[in-house]
Symmetry: C2
Subunit: 240 residues, 2 copies
């Protein structure tokens, strides 16, 4: 990125987390097996992770639509868990086990390129997650994966969930920046489209294996300012 | 701190910032001189810093009392600046100069013991500012002084100012912790008294030179869980 290009005005990068930075699918499957297998449960752990994730958007839509008051994602993850586990014949799990399972989302591993690239990006930009995950969840992920966030922004400070405009705009305001000085980075075009509609710059990182081999977007399906094959490539393209 | 003591349940430390971690007085005086002296102004820079700080509690009280809606501290600092500068015969300053002066509060230096002690404390506790300063201000201070916060909590996420209970409780909730699992650390007994009333643990660090030699509290004037002579001493006493 040369200083004479329009992107030279970008001061902060906001990151989508689930899918873009974190391999939630194999991580949740691993955690579910770690917790449930010793208790005698045998099931398709990847299908379990996918079933949990399938409740994600419907759960948040209850809040976005105004039908439910805002609740942090930990609360929604727990509610969603209880909704789908009967399909896996998991009944009679204790409160302790349900609570421990919910924390699976606090123990995700980042895609391998993420930690080193984030350290590079921080030398030039303010960096923060702008995720639908809550603050404590983001702190656990940051500590596990050594992500040097400047602050934890996103749904919990906004009181709503992406792609509602308030979430992107609250992040810009927290950093005292105009939307055009901020770039949303995500592997999902829907997230970037909504951020762009709020005036933010956008960066796409391909995560083609999010739901298994070759399931993710290899390239954005909407106009973006930068398209990269991963976070290291994004750092290269932003001139870090 | 031995594991059999009640404080072994403390998981997070919340920090007051102005005075407790930062030497705001000589820093603001230095910044004011840097900005105004080249423009031909000669004044008592320490008196200037003190005058600005004297507007701090009255400005926040407008919000705490409900007479004004919440505004982030950058906004209050600017409003307070315009309130006291006529007394220094500073009139006709341009918008650029007023904006640059307001950023003096983003350029504070930490007391010398703070950065290294904070790195130690982070190995055992989640750490966050619980300050009346806003998020962008805290990020600038963290970058300048290399403070490795897990998150930026405090007034901006609470929508009110200490010592209102909401500010302490919002910090605990953001970390998914009960108040008894959190310790407020401050050089000011009033802050600790309010935190304790919300159920938090409390740690006092003496900052005897906050307003000049021997002006600060050498020891707490209220009951606290830990009293330390500085942040390194606090880390020792918390068994880090």
């Amino acid at each position: 990125m040369r200083e004479d290009l329009p992107l030279s005005g970008v001061r902060a990068l906001f990151f989508d987390v689930f899918g873009t930075l974190m391999d939630w699918r194999t991580s949740v499957a691993r955690e579910a097996e770690r917790i449930l297998a010793p208790r005698g449960h045998r099931l398709d752990w990847i299908a379990f992770a996918d079933a949990w994730r399938a409740e994600y958007q419907p759960g948040m839509e209850e809040v976005r639509s105004g039908r439910q008051p805002f609740a942090k994602l930990d609360v929604l993850h727990r509610r969603n868990l209880e909704r789908f586990i009967p399909r896996f014949r998991l009944t009679g799990l204790s409160e302790d086990v349900l609570a421990e399972l919910t924390l699976a989302w606090h123990r995700l591993d980042a895609w391998p390129d993420v930690p080193a690239a984030m350290v590079r990006l921080k030398t030039k930009f303010w960096i923060a997650p702008c995720s639908n995950g809550n603050i404590a969840l983001m702190v656990d992920l940051a500590r596990r994966n050594r992500l040097p966030w400047d602050a934890i922004l996103g749904s919990e400070i906004a009181g709503d969930f992406k792609p509602k405009p308030r979430v992107y705009l609250a992040a810009c305001e927290a950093f005292n920046l105009a939307p055009a000085q901020c770039m949303m980075v995500a592997a999902h075009s829907r997230d970037l489209k909504s951020a762009a509609e709020c005036g933010l710059r956008t960066g796409h990182t391909a995560r083609v294996n999010e739901y298994g081999a070759n399931t993710g977007e290899p390239a954005p399906t909407v106009p973006v300012d930068v398209a990269a094959k991963d976070l290291a490539d994004l750092a290269d393209k932003l001139g870090v």
